[in-house]
Symmetry: C2
Subunit: 430 residues, 2 copies
């Protein structure tokens, strides 16, 4: 049995008051002890000057889209998708998705994210990148049915094959979900079948919901009701559903989401950048809805740094409500950690005996985080990804003192740069 | 004469198209050449994989407030000021302001800011910190008259003494401004006198303007007109004025600001965090107003990282206007560089022969900035302070490859931590 002791840190458990100078003991892939007593171990990691906390959970992204970081910005959504993103995505190969996902894993490990929820294509390759990089992920194949019966069949087959083939792979670091794209790009019948199969496979469902006003209008026209009502009517909604974005919600929609324990995934940076709107997060939280945070894909962010996402979430809702007490730091930190873990259904997001050893050390001994009046405030309002010093997933140290151990960083940068160039050239040539 | 050549970078001049693999030659404190031809030099700095660009200009801050970073958050403005910030500020000593400003200079140099506009107290000490750290700054003593005639006299004396004593100090790196606090905390008569004296001393004026709706209401009650009208009536407004915040503006106010060439300093993070409101920046820009960016003090941000400020500015106005084309990356980069330099009246913000050698290198060869489709997009949407590799001010290399040469970083962290602890303890004891 491997025993790692993290000592001398400011331990933020997300499960009670912080412990100054506390100890966290890892036995193999689990947390064996959190408290004030020194423990015996084979390896000791000093957390002097650091906050020790659960790793961040990025609850909605399209990891391989790192390859399109900065490829197209500052334009209307349809033009962005139709003229830039879709044409370049059309050329993606298995190899590209492996490389792009590996780059995403590298960026996330560096910035303190220990688990993410992904929805994309060529997902076997995404899974291999997760396996190789050491990170944890809940993966789904993005099924876009587009009201086509033949496509419905093949998409569901592929989604199901992926769910069953990869669930619990990589020492349990990989879990799988169904990924129907959105209520307005998949038919009601298709979504019913997805739900049925997800229940059968005991898998969660990852879906976009009400990201745009266009979806709301389309749903009303097509069904005479909004996405939440339609999904509720077919028995789709439940605690197994991760609904990304959730911007165009009525009070009634939020009541339904609360009643059905749906997980709302808030992506403030992407929603601002694409001018999609502002999700009613304080209203969701006040109803008891589990709200987690996601960066969305790198083409609309353009970063996977969850510290940026947390700060933006805290700021956006203050100014939107014209209330500086809205979304206090502690609440946002929960959204970035324990709420995210709850959404993904993984035993993480809290430092407690028996939980998965997904832990990060944030170096507070830097100019930008000096002085330390209140560590939780710093984590939301002042820290940035590069302040993360050490990242541990499933008991494995993936980054130590800023050096990533599980990935050849130079190789990934080189391969991703070359893949991105090739894709951009191909898209231009069309 | 000292000659430094920066070579092999992606040179973003802010004065024409970028130059890939370009050269920038520094002679003493000035830029001597920008272009495609290699130049002779005593020292060569490789910018391979880096963007080479003008240093960022933080056009509104209260530098020494780094000591209160994270001291109080998530509360209403008046409670925050009256119960937390003012009580702790009351105990500030000369030494604290030196230390706090030094910490600010350190953080800014590390994150690529080469010049800042400051307004605070104990300003001789702030000036000494600027002198010692090597950064450039436009400093002002914050005059709060509070409609008290005796105070008016002493405040103006102190403001004027500081302006005259420190202008053009530290090899010209320090310039000085008058700093009347705000139109609702200073009388009309006082503001008239300030303007008069500023014109006489050929100094700029740094003032808060319409940060809160409370100011707008107070002005209407007191004068029957808003701050912009009142200031215009007394001949206060001109290209020598830096007006910080500018949130509660009418269309007429913006027309006046444009006509009088007032500089608007936008502080999106602070305005969001304190829920002050959203400045009408696209409307100001469309009228031709020079809009620069500021972080405001560290107690309401809680960072001096201008990359965060730029990203937030780009995002906020997109979602506010529900227009993803609002505030494109290139426009925001101007706000963070050349517009800031214009507001401060310093010959910087553009890489061009004859300008001050205030230059930064941003390392694009990192996971978070891979791949590089468009460097300007990365600078706004993906880069963070720690991506800055090298910072040069007035021809002096202050940071090289991430190592700050002009400041003893450990000593500053230690002194600032100890000063902050002492101040917090004193405030608690009261």
């Amino acid at each position: 049995m491997s025993r790692i002791l993290i000592k001398d840190g400011y331990v933020i458990t997300m499960d009670g008051p912080p412990i100054e100078g506390g100890y966290v003991l890892i036995e193999d892939d689990r947390i064996a002890y959190v408290g004030r007593e020194e423990q015996k171990a084979d390896q000791v990691i000093s957390a002097k000057g650091c906050a020790v906390m659960p790793g961040l959970v990025n609850a909605h992204t399209h990891a391989a889209m790192t390859l399109f970081r900065g490829y197209a910005d500052d334009m209307p959504l349809q033009q962005w998708l139709e003229e830039h993103i879709w044409p370049v995505e059309a050329h993606l190969t298995d190899n590209d998705v492996y490389t792009g996902t590996m780059l995403a894993c590298l960026e996330m490990i560096r910035s303190g994210t220990t688990a993410f929820a992904d929805m994309y294509f060529h997902m076997d390759q995404a899974a291999r990148a997760v396996e190789d990089s050491g990170i944890r992920a809940s993966l789904s194949y993005g099924m876009i049915e587009l009201f086509d019966e033949a496509k419905a069949k093949t998409e569901l087959q592929e989604g199901g094959r992926f769910v069953r083939q990869w669930n619990n792979a990589a020492d349990g670091r990989i879990t799988t979900m169904y990924g129907p794209h959105a209520p307005n790009t998949c038919s009601r019948e298709f979504l019913s079948k997805v739900k049925e199969q997800a229940v059968e496979d005991n898998a969660r469902i990852h879906i976009h919901m009400l990201e745009t006003e266009a979806e709301l209008n389309q749903m009303k026209e097509q069904y005479g009701m909004c996405s939440v009502n339609m999904l509720d009517e077919i028995g789709f909604l439940g605690p197994d559903v991760l609904a990304a974005h959730c911007i165009w919600l009525s009070a009634g929609d939020m009541d339904i989401m609360a009643k059905k324990n749906v997980n709302a995934i808030h992506c403030p940076v992407s929603n601002m950048k694409l001018a999609s709107g502002i999700a009613p997060v304080p209203e969701l939280l006040s109803r008891g809805v589990n709200v987690a945070l996601g960066t969305d894909g790198c083409a609309s962010n353009n970063s996977l740094d969850m510290f940026g996402e947390m700060k933006t979430a805290a700021l956006l809702h203050k100014v939107n409500a014209m209330d500086p007490t809205a979304m206090p730091a502690g609440e946002v930190l929960k959204m970035g950690t324990s709420n995210g873990a709850k959404a993904l259904g993984i035993p993480a997001g809290i430092l407690r005996q028996g939980m998965a050893a997904d832990i990060i050390l944030v170096d507070m001994h830097t100019p930008g985080l000096t002085p330390v009046h209140e560590p939780v405030s710093h984590l939301i309002y002042a820290a940035r990804g590069p302040d993360v010093k050490t990242t541990i997933v499933n008991g494995q140290v993936l980054m130590e003192d800023g050096i990533v151990l599980s990935i050849d960083q130079e190789k990934v940068i080189e391969q991703a740069s070359s893949a991105a160039r090739r894709l951009a050239d191909k898209a231009k040539a069309n």
